[in-house]
């Protein structure tokens, strides 16, 4: 409490730096690991850190959903896929066409630099400079998000259920062996 009284924003800054660093570090580990299992663990860490960032943006409902849906459900899907398709890669990054890939990554890096430059240039504008912890009472809670979902966004919300149904049926259809009694892995 003494620490918070002496420097009000210090704990928030430390939390932000730790969460951002673990999110970015986990993302880098994810795309560079050779084994899919290691990459999955790093991805779970990244998603938990991103959920912490959501919570610090006072989006509590989305933070909980992020842990439940991403770090829970989607990761279980990935783990099952890794169990079925477990191929050690001898060469995780292709050497064929390396020039083209390097050029595309350079172009991506340049794009990142330009966009980041714009963000830093515009950092004094109201939207990007605001650091209010809780702009409106009840901002980001289940009650207010649920109210929006069932009033303004009712049609997209109900469409999501059809999308998920189609995804379930499509997933079952695609991953079934093509011949009856065919090779089951």
């Amino acid at each position: 409490m003494n620490l918070m009284a002496s420097a009000p924003g210090l704990l928030e800054k430390v939390a932000f730096v730790v969460l951002a660093a673990s999110a970015l570090g986990g993302a880098l580990l994810t795309i560079t690991r050779k084994s899919a299992e290691g990459a999955l663990i790093a991805l779970v860490g990244t998603f938990c850190a991103v959920a912490g960032l959501y919570a610090s943006l006072s989006a509590h409902f989305l933070a909980v959903l992020q842990v439940l849906v991403y770090a829970g459900a989607i990761m279980v899907l990935f783990i099952f896929a890794v169990m079925i398709v477990n191929r050690e890669e001898t060469q995780p990054i292709a050497l064929r066409g390396l020039f083209l890939r390097a050029a595309s990554v350079l172009a991506t890096g340049y794009l990142f630099y330009r966009v980041a430059w714009i963000v830093v240039r515009e950092k004094q504008t109201d939207v990007l400079a605001s650091s209010a912890a809780l702009p409106i009472p009840g901002f980001g809670t289940v009650a207010s998000i649920g109210h929006l979902l069932f009033t303004d966004f009712l049609f997209p919300f109900e469409s999501i259920s059809i999308l998920l149904l189609v995804a379930v049926v499509g997933g079952v259809l695609l991953s079934r062996p093509s011949r009856p009694g065919g090779d089951a892995i």
């Binding site: 990459a39 890669e89 400079a129």
Partner: protein, 99 residues
């Protein structure tokens, strides 16, 4: 923390995901990188939502999450199905449609 810090983190996360999609050959890693990109987009949505004091961004991030779940289910089913027929998931080697 001011909003632009979050936007910078979101940008970095998105471009790390892009690099993963461009560089990796394993289809599983490409799907994981896509998930990273979607999470980065949601982070930017929530940041602007707080900056504007408007909760509609939260609702859109919620829809993005549902879309990511559907995408992962179908994408992984396709990967498993391709692995069954071809015995490989190397995206450079799956080029039957090319010629």
């Amino acid at each position: 923390m001011p909003g632009y810090c979050y936007i910078l983190v979101s940008l970095a996360l998105f471009f790390i995901g892009t690099a993963g999609v461009l560089l990796r050959r394993n289809a599983l890693f490409v799907l994981m990188s896509l998930e990273l990109q979607l999470a980065a987009g949601s982070l930017a949505l929530l940041t602007f939502s707080r900056g504007l004091g408007d909760e509609k961004g939260h609702v859109v991030a919620f829809f993005v999450m549902a879309l990511a779940a559907a995408e992962a289910a179908v994408g992984l089913a396709i990967v498993v199905s391709v692995y069954r027929t071809r015995r490989k998931i190397d995206l450079d080697a799956i080029n039957e449609l090319r010629n």
